[in-house]
Amino acid sequence: MATVEVSHLKKAFGPTQAVADVSFAVEKGEIFGLLGPNGAGKTTSIRLMLDIFQPDAGTVSILDGPMTEAKKNRIGYMPEERGLYQEMPLEACLIYLATLKGLSKTDARRRLQPYLEHFDLAQHRAKKVKELSKGMQQKAQIISTVLHEPEILIMDEPFSGLDPVNTQLAKDLMLELHRRGVTIIMSTHIMHQVEELCNRIVLINQGRNVLYGDLAQIRREHSGHAVRVKVDGELPALAGVQAVTPHNDALQLTLDQQTSPQEILQQLVSQHCAIEQFEIALPSLDEIFIQVVSEQ
């Protein structure tokens, strides 16, 4: 059974239909991408999942049933609009937020120590949050999201506002948690991060599903009839090729409908070309995103 299952969610704010019909399921232990352009309904979908908003229609099943107060302790959430209590000392702030997730103060303090050391914040624990640099606050934010060791981690635009060092820290942490079996849902519109991290995705636009499934499968489905080739020397004339365009340091060959990639490979081999690269030309997620959203 899926860890999170969202079915035909709808939510309107006055005249604005923020979520019109969104459905997806997230399996245990996977990194799932919730994608869409700005204003597509990603954040509202997350808030509906977390019971912050009540849906107008549709259902959410999370950890085998509807959301309960007890289940909130098993979920870590890093919203896009995030912050900490500026007037509190760092350690007290993180312990307080952890106790709201069901940890005792003693456990929270014990778990916090290695995180503070790992993120190089141990010597700043007594400082007020407002006295920390922005980068330090970002790291503290990441700690507060995972300190209670959640089973599900939901991160809305997780790398938004992070400097490159903290972006890498956050990625490493996500991958580490993934290895430990934590289910991760990340919402973003930065496609290369999704390609790097996610197993499966749902792409929503104007509040509706437009793409959903395994990332590799989606890319295959959206691939054009083309191959990318790099040979040592000049590319010979090949039958069945409609166009040749440069693609990075290789060439992309657009094939006619009757010609298969295997036939192109056979032609290259038969002409004794030294093949350095031969691959089916799969579109990047960026290209698929732009194509699908433009069609909408």
Binding site: L50, D56, Y77, G83, Y85, S144
Partner: protein, 399 residues
């Protein structure tokens, strides 16, 4: 520990362990102390020494009373001419001339240089009265010397107002109302600022992903209430200590023998509780609509002024304590407690009006709690934006 208590403890610590709380504890007693000291200073500055002369050819004023006003000196002159000369030489401020047949005529002439204060007139009257009563029995003389005790009995309003020095107990409801106003505004303003700060810090979404908005609100209210009760206990303790020292150490008469009208106080508390609910809910509702803590403070100040409107209208209510304006202000939840307290000085406000006022405040309070909940849920994640009330119905109903 319940998450509600965690939020309450956090809120309590945040509000109590800061400098402004200590300032708040001492602010009210300091304010009252300042008023009292200024009053005493003002009275002392108005006191002036008056040199008064008198001419008494009939030898009526032969004895001096034991207790006399230290600020008035009385000098006997042998003749009107001597007294006049002293007045012209500004050795005295005025003189009384009693004719030789004063015991029969009871006529006295007063000659004044510029003006004469009441204390001097009273001192001379006491001298005359003391001498005229010299032949009377001691008790009769003492009673006549004390003068009349006038108490105005307002039979229609069932109030007895002693002329001269009404007791502090008469003003106790107003003191309670003022204490209530300070407390409710402290609670409400703190609550409103706390909610605005959650939005401003962007912590609210993190918190409501851990607990429900209702739990968060309940925790905050409990925490702020705890702070307010500590503040109230501190204020009351300081005021009681002040009253005890004033009455028993300094011997201030106005702090002695204070009588409390139990009925009025009990009925006032009946109105006070739902009014508190009403005002707190109003502040939460307003807190949900403001953008930042600065705006919250400004709105809180306006609400504070509204509560004190009946104090500004004190003399209007004194003239007509049961008039339409007084009754209307008694029924309006924001002004009910202070209006009823002011009216209670001048009349026995009917029990039915207290009950009606309490009911109106309760209904408004419950409606405002409902509205505050809707506004809060609808607006809690609208960072840096004001809520458009026109959208509340649709939005709040579903959020």
């Amino acid at each position: 520990m319940s998450k509600v208590w965690l939020v309450a403890e956090q809120q309590f610590r945040k509000d109590v362990f800061k400098r402004s709380f200590i300032v708040a504890i001492v602010a009210m007693p300091l304010f009252l102390g300042f008023i009292i000291v200024m009053g005493l200073l003002s009275a002392r500055m108005q006191q002036q020494t008056t040199a008064l002369g008198y001419v008494d050819p009939g030898h009526v004023l032969t004895q001096q009373p034991a207790a006399s006003n230290d600020n008035v000196t009385l000098t006997r002159f042998a003749s009107a001419a001597e007294a006049r000369a002293a007045l012209d030489a500004e050795q005295i401020d005025a003189y009384y001339a009693l004719p030789a047949d004063y015991p029969h005529s009871r006529q006295v002439q007063l000659v004044v240089g510029s003006q004469l204060d009441n204390a001097a007139v009273q001192a001379f009257s006491e001298l005359v009265r003391f001498n005229l009563l010299a032949g009377q029995e001691e008790q009769v003389a003492a009673r006549a010397q004390a003068g009349p005790e006038i108490v105005i009995l307002a039979t229609a309003n069932n109030r007895a107002l002693p002329l001269g020095a009404p007791g502090l107990g008469l003003f106790l409801p107003v003191l309670v109302a003022m204490l209530f106003a300070f407390l409710v505004m402290t609670v409400a303003a703190t609550l409103m600022e706390s909610l605005a700060a959650e939005k401003q810090n962007r912590t609210i979404e993190i918190v409501v992903s851990s607990i429900s908005p209702g739990q968060m609100m309940a925790g905050k209210i409990l925490g702020v209430m705890g702070m307010a009760l500590l503040l109230a206990a501190s204020w009351i303790g300081i005021l009681l200590a002040f009253a005890w020292i004033g009455a028993h150490v300094l011997g201030w008469g106005w702090l002695q023998g204070i009588t409390v009208n139990g009925r009025d106080l009990a009925l006032l508390i009946l109105v006070l509780v739902p009014s508190f609910l009403c005002l707190a809910a109003l502040m939460v509702a307003l807190g949900a609509t403001v953008v930042d803590t600065q705006e919250a403070q400004q709105i809180g100040a306006v609400a504070f002024m509204i509560i004190f409107v009946p104090i500004y209208l004190f003399f209007l209510f004194a003239n007509d304590p049961n008039g339409p304006l007084a009754i209307a202000a008694s029924l309006f939840p924001l002004t009910a407690v202070t209006t009823l307290a002011v009216r209670s000085i001048f009349m026995e406000v009917p029990t039915a009006q207290f009950i009606a006022s309490a009911l109106v405040a309760l209904v408004c309070g419950l409606a405002l709690v409902w509205l505050a909940g809707k506004l809060f849920r609808a607006n809690m994640l609208r960072y840096g934006q004001r809520l458009q009330l026109g959208r509340l119905g649709r939005k709040g109903a579903k959020a």
